[in-house]
Every structure is written in structure tokens, then in C-alpha cells.
Amino acid sequence: MFAAGGSMASSSFRRKVGGGLAVIPGTRASVHNGQLLVSTGASSLDSVIGGGLAVGTLLLIEEDKYNMYSNLLLKYFIAEGVVSGHDLFVASAEEDPSSILQELPAPLLDDFHKNNLDKEEKTTGDLQKSMKIAWRYQNLPKLEVTPAARSRFGHHYDLSKAMSSEMLQAVRCHTFFLPTECGSAICCSMGHAYTLLLQSIHRVIQQEGFDGSCPQKKHKNILRIVLQSLGSVLWGDDICCSDHPQYIHSLTRFLHALRGLLRMSLSACVISLPAHLIQNKAILSRVRNLSDTVVGLESFIGSARETNALYKDYHGLFHVYQCPRLNSLLCDVSGTKDLAFKLQRKQFTIEIVIHVELQGVLRNCLHLPPDLSDRASRSSKQDLSECSKVLNAGCAAMTAGRTHLDF
Amino acid sequence: MLEEVVSGGGSLIIIDDINCCGRSLLKCFLAAAAHKGDSIHILNFDIPKDELRAGMDSEVAERLVFHDGFMDPLNWNGEAVLPASPFTLKELRVCIGADASPVTLVLDSLSWILLHNPVSAVCHTFQHFQRQAKSTGLNVRQIIGLLHGDLHKPAVVDSVCCLASTVVTVTQAPSSEAQGTAVVLQRRKSRKIVRATEYFTILEHFALKSLGQHQPLMKLAGEKEETPAAETDPAANLTFNLRLSEEERRAKERVLLPYHLSAEVKSSLLQSHAGVAKIYYEPDAADDVDEEDPDDDLDV
């Protein structure tokens, strides 16, 4: 694991800055334990998983039912990599990675700030010439205010615009599209796709020196690995379409080896997995145990909650199932909250849902807020009870146990 | 009933789970069989022979013959004593060898054997070993197997237990006095099935003591036995007197309480007196006494 303090010191005191690793653009040291973090591109996701994704770890996103929102998170991650100047490795079995790269959200960068600055300059232009109070500083040279976009941690994106191709060309992208790698129309035998993918990732890490094997490279960089819809049928795996899959170990073996590769290189990986299709819960728990951070998206589309007034602002629930303990006894994320996400025209945000006295609402209709009580019918009461169950389940997501109070 | 089983023959399976280990009960059966004069052949896979031998008195210990399957069962170190598998009649017969005295065969544990051999082979051997051994001159009086019920599918456990003449299922005892609860299921030769639940405890040198079918008195764990002797008298050192002497008691009984009327007064009151005032009431016209509505407040 890479800590921002550099080599192993004999004392436990480590400087948070320095050692050469924190100088990599687009990264920063975690405030909790000095872990090197990269941004996932969505600032609300960063804050929910403890400040960012730690370098050398794996973020598993359990896809929502129609795979609308998890793809967005993958695109945010790639876009953040482009803006920060990191190397990219995008793998998919469904769509050509180059088409994924065409649809990245545009960052809100210099334009935004430049526009603001232009406005500011016009208004303060007259005052520039004669400062009333700070007149001693009148003749000092003006400092550039535009922030250096690359070295900043986390950026904002506009989903309604696509990223320009010039920005994309400045960054090294490695792609892995299974149909072209495999060589035949129908996917290759069980587990073979994962082996090819693992070899491809290993090749990139070794050749580009992310594991420190090329000492002449002066500027260290991060490799961002994105694997779309791993475990789906298109990868040649049958865990999503069968109760008793034939080769239940191929995905878990791949994940274990990937973990080994990530731990010994400067890379961060995001995987999306169609968890709602996996019938065998044992496999899902094994996959979760082999990942570091696990989050899940549960969209309201097609469920009864879509028309539920309580969730009218949101598009789905967001679960944090697992957070890693890295180089420490403690876990970065403090507490599980009831989280929900919403997709607006320009951005995707995750928010804490504030629900008040759901139990009270069920018992006595008089406590309902006015707009809900008008439409209070049997079905909506059922929704409320369902969503209270879900939210309570979400409460105990990270540390769950039996259902009785302990003290 | 447990004591009956201990002295019986045939085949016996002890089923335990992770909450209550059945090995101590197994050792009780071993000790009882040894005291009867049997030669005990043990195939130990789960624990080393020292642990099995520990706690037994010398008379029992010298009758124990171990066939060690614990140290190197699969011959990884080249020191295997038992053949790795299969668990067949022939292999087992060869393993035990010749023995003049009656033999009790102990399998610790049957679970290990079931995990490493096909269920059908194990069942076949278990069922036919006694008969086949007799034909070759070996008198196998009893076969005892320890089975960990939660390591196998319920169907496998049931299939194996069908073959045994007695099945003892050991579970946790509710109170701290008993070592465990044993549910004994016995198939008698008279085609009768006997089922009993008993609590048992284990004494020194693995002597089994059955505590009967009723729950022993619940005692909190850690509570010492209270000696009934020196019972402290709580009324001993008080500044006020809680006791009555004999005189005081007699005086107390003699006191006449108010409203405690003497016999004469009572009898005089009970008699009806002439001259007692009586009240005659005659309702006049203004009185309208309605039996159903004496207070006149019903609004019908």
C-alpha cells in the first residue's frame, strides 16, 4: 500500500507531504491516515467513501437495474483521469471503449473561472488604477488567479456537454474490448476472458512502469483502470444467468489477482458489476470480500417507490456496503447514513436522506405533512413501510448483525 | 436409559454439534466397555491419541489400542499408519488384526471418514463389519462412532444413523449442573423403538452418571453450594425487640380489641327486640317510583 509518507520510517510519525509520491497531480493525502487518494470525479461520491479512492485499491459498484447510473459513475472516473493527466485503461465486453471515451462529461474548468474573472475585471477595472486604502500595493504585479487544474483534487463536470477530443488526446488511453481481443464472435471459454484481461492489465503496468520497475521514469503517474459490467454474460461468465454456475471461481480468482496487481502498483480500479443478476448470494459475498470499497446503486425505476412522494427528489438509493481498513486499524468512513442519489441535467449527486418519524407517520395520519396526507391511501402507506424497512436495512449496511437490540 | 446403552452392544452413533462436544460421552462409553473386559480398537482421526487417553485410569488405558489416523492420514509425510482410503471391510479387518478378547471398535470421528470416502462405502462397511468380522474369528461386540452433525447434509446424517441400533444426540444442557442433554433413540431387537431424553454428567475417570429425565435444579453458574449449617439470625442484634416471651404472648391474646364483642353482647344483638323502632313508609301521590329508572335521569 502506498502511503504519502514515502519509505518505511522506524517511527510512526510520518510527514504528510513529501516523499515524491504526493507530487503526483490529481492526488492528495488522506487526512485520516496519510493514504494517497485520487478523486472519483463525483465529489459527493468522494465524501461518502472517505475522501476519495485510495491508490492501490478497488472500488466495486453494484449496478442499478438498467445500468443507467453506474455507467455515469464510470464516466466521471475516466473524465477525472483525463483532467488530472492520469493514464487510463478502459475495458468492456459490451461497447467499444473508444465510444465510452467519446461520451465523457465536460469539465467545468478554466472557462468557468475565466468567465467569472472576466466579469470581475470589467467591474473592478476602474478601481484598479487607484486603490484608496491599499494604495501601497498599487504598483505590484498582479498574480494569476486561474487555478492549475491538473494539480487540483476533484473537479466538477457538466453532463450536458461532452469533453473535447483535444483534452482526451493529451492523455494515454489503453483499451481492452473483448470481442477484438478474443478473436471470435462468441466469447471464449470460461475464465479465458478474465485471463486475457489480467494479462493485458499486467502488461500495461509493467511496460509503463506503474509498479516501479522502470526507475528512469521521472514523473510518476497513476493508472486508472475501469472495467465495465464485469461478471456479465458477455464476459463469458455464467454467474449472472445460472443458480449453480459451472465455474464459480473464475471471477473471484481474477479479483484476487487484480488485487495483487493493484497493491504493488500506482493504480486505482473501478469495476461495475451487475449484482442484481447474480442469483447465488454466496458468490456476491465472496466478490465483496475480495473488493476494498463496495457501493451499490438501487434505482427507483420500475419499483413502487418511483411514484412515492417521499422520494420525488431522488432517482434511487445509494448504499455503501463496505469500506476498507488500509494501513490502519480504523476505517475512514464514519457511519452509514441513508443515502440517495439524483441525476440532474448537469450533474449527479448523492445526498443524505432526512426522514423524520416514519413510524409515527404510519400510526397516525395526522402527523403527515399536508401534501402527503391528501394523497394518503393504502398503497402509499405500504410504500412508506417498505421504504422504512429499506432505510433501516441501509442503516445496518456496514456492520450488520441479528435483529435485536443489544443493550 | 443411558446406562443401559453404555452396557449394550451392537452399533452406536453419537451425534454432536459445535455447541456441545460429544467426545467426553464417547470416552465414557470407552471406559465402560474397557471395564467389561473388551479390547478397544480406536481409529482416531480428529484428535491425537494422547488426548483420547488422557483422564482414563490405568486399567482402561492399557486396553486401548490406537490406529493413528491423526498424524498423517493422507501420507503426505510418508508416515501413514492407516491406509488412506478407502474405508472398506477388507482394509478395516486387516487394520484391526487378530484379537482374542471381544473387541469394541471406535471411530473418532465418523465425520472424517464420511468426508473422505463415498457415503455408500461407509454405510456398507458400518453395517456389515460386525457380521463379516465374526466369520473370520474376530468378535466385535460393539461399534461406536462419533459424528459431527453440522458437517454433513441432514440426509447423509440420517442415512448413516438408520444403520445404527442406537443413536445418541448430544446437545447443550440448559442448566450448569448437567454436562449435556442426550436424546437416545434405540432400535430394539423386539422391533420396538425407544426414545428418551436424559441429562447426564461425567464424573472422575469418565464414569457416566445419568441425571434422569427431569431438569436438575437450575443453579446459576458460579454459585457456590450454600452450607445449611450456620444460618445467621437476622433478628439477632437489633435495638428493638421483635420477639414475644410466653407471658407477653398470653397477655396479648387476652386483650380485648374494640369491636370484638363478647358472646353475651353478640347474642343480645342477634335477637330481635320488642321496642326497636321500625320505619313504616307509605308512598304518597307525589312519589313516582319507577323501578327501572329510580333517578329519573334516563332520556328515553
Binding site: H202, T399 | H148
Partner: protein
């Protein structure tokens, strides 16, 4: 090592209990803090330790061990600690895929799932073998964690055999100790894993079950720990002793307290 946990377990650096198999079973939470405890405890006690680490890298354990006062690098250099980096070995095996390497990889069985774990057992036995030059106390085997081997495709019976051989050699023959971490879950969806957990429960001397609170996350109490001392059948039948505690993890230690006496309540 956590001083409070030593008190609860009655373990003493000077008077080590031997021939013990300790099982750490975590249910939907992370019980790895107990692995860190035992690693630092046995290194401090002067035992020879073989650590089979299958889920985290060496530097992770080293950084945490330093907080607990033990340096794994120096322990490795002077031969007290033999560390198997499972992640690296697994990558080598899965990438080699058919090419035979000269060095025998302890996780060689990953390339052929029908193969048993004798190679790993030989590695463990050789690393803990008694030699005339060493002055270490009893040998200790630490495995973190065993459930991952099932995820990697190892046959459950082969895994049980490996654990049996480790127990026979290390606990019985060499009179050492074993500490094994296994994941479990209440709903027992994973049958192979449940068989593994039950097998280990039957043969352990000490079981530490770590579980999150049923009521969800709490800042003061991170979970509860159930300690079970299994009754031995050596002298006469002894019953299991079970005790429950709650714990809170800090940066350098873990505090334990009786249920209902956490800072959140009192």
C-alpha cells in the same frame, strides 16, 4: 497487541499457552484487528511465526504492527517471521498459466484446482521446522484468511485436509499454536464456507466471534466480541465457557468493555 484483550483471554507473554488452535470468525464485519493483535503478541513473546497473508500486502501489516510496537521487517530479517505474500504469489501463478517456474510457488495449487494443498503445507512445515540454531519459543501459524482459498477455487475437503495437517504438525507435534481467520455469515448461503467454519469450530480451543451491532453503526461501539473457551475432554467433561464483550477500535489499540457500559450509554 491489545493489553485489554490479553486480560480478557488470560494470555501472558511469559507463560504462553501451547497446542492451541484459535479461530477468529467475523460475521459481516472486519475482524482483522484480531489478526494484528495475535501477530504482534506472538512476535513480542518471542515465538517463531509463519504468516500466510492472502488478502493484504506486507506493508499494510507492517504499518499497523509498527503502531502496535513491532517491526515486521526486522522480524523477517532475523528469521523470526516467515511471511507468505499470497497476493504476489497468486498473481505469479495466474499469469504464468502453464509455464512452469523453477521456484516452487506455495500457491501452485491455484493453477490446478483438483490439486491438494500439500505444497502449501510443506512450505509451512519447513518454515516452522525446529532447527538447532534457533532460540525462538513455540512455533505459531497465522492464516489471514482461510475463506479466500475457497474463493480461489480450492476444494473444501482439500482445505480441511490442509488445516488438519497444520493442526497435527504444529499444534500436536511441535506443540505450537495456530490462529486462523474465517469469514462467516448468519444466513449461511455459502455452504462450503459454512462447512469450513463448523469444522474449525469443532477443532478449536478458543473461538473469537466478531460481529457488528444489530442496531447499526455507533461511534462508541464498533461491534461485539464473543469469546468461547471450548471445554477440553482431557480430564473429565468440561463445558464451554462463553463471554460477551463489546469493543471500540482506536488508532493504536482496541478497548473492550462489558455490554451496555460503553461511553455512549454511561
Amino acid at each position: 497487541m491489545f493489553v485489554e484483550l490479553n486480560h480478557l483471554l488470560n494470555s501472558d507473554l511469559d507463560k504462553l499457552k501451547q497446542e492451541e488452535l484459535t479461530l477468529i470468525c467475523d460475521i459481516k464485519t472486519d475482524g482483522s484487528f484480531l489478526v494484528h493483535h495475535f501477530l504482534s503478541f506472538y512476535l513480542r513473546a518471542g515465538c517463531k511465526v509463519c504468516f500466510v497473508a492472502l488478502v493484504q500486502s506486507f506493508s499494510h501489516y507492517n504499518i499497523v504492527a509498527q503502531k502496535l510496537g513491532v517491526n515486521l521487517t526486522t522480524a523477517k530479517e532475523r528469521g523470526q517471521l516467515v511471511f507468505l505474500e499470497g497476493l504476489k504469489s497468486s498473481v505469479n501463478v495466474l499469469l504464468a498459466d502453464g509455464q512452469k517456474s523453477e521456484q516452487k510457488n506455495p500457491l501452485q495449487f491455484l493453477s490446478d484446482t483438483s490439486c491438494d494443498l500439500k505444497v502449501l503445507y510443506d512450505f509451512v512445515r519447513n518454515s516452522l521446522a525446529l532447527s538447532s540454531t534457533n532460540t525462538w519459543k513455540c512455533p505459531v501459524l497465522l492464516v489471514d484468511d482461510v475463506s479466500v482459498l475457497l474463493s480461489l477455487g480450492v476444494n473444501t475437503i482439500h482445505l480441511l485436509d490442509f488445516l488438519h495437517y497444520c493442526r497435527a504438525t504444529i499444534c500436536s507435534q511441535l506443540e505450537g499454536n495456530m490462529v486462523v481467520l474465517v469469514h462467516s455469515s448468519d444466513d449461511s448461503e455459502d455452504e462450503e464456507n459454512e462447512l469450513l467454519v463448523n469444522y474449525l469450530c469443532h477443532h478449536s480451543n478458543l473461538i473469537l466471534q466478531v460481529e457488528g451491532l444489530a442496531t447499526g453503526f455507533c461511534k462508541e461501539v464498533h461491534g461485539q466480541l464473543r469469546i468461547t473457551w471450548k471445554g477440553s475432554c482431557r480430564q473429565k467433561g468440561e463445558k464451554d465457557v462463553v463471554k460477551d464483550y463489546q469493543y471500540r477500535i482506536h488508532d493504536k489499540t482496541v478497548t473492550f468493555f462489558a455490554r451496555g457500559t460503553s461511553a455512549a450509554v454511561l
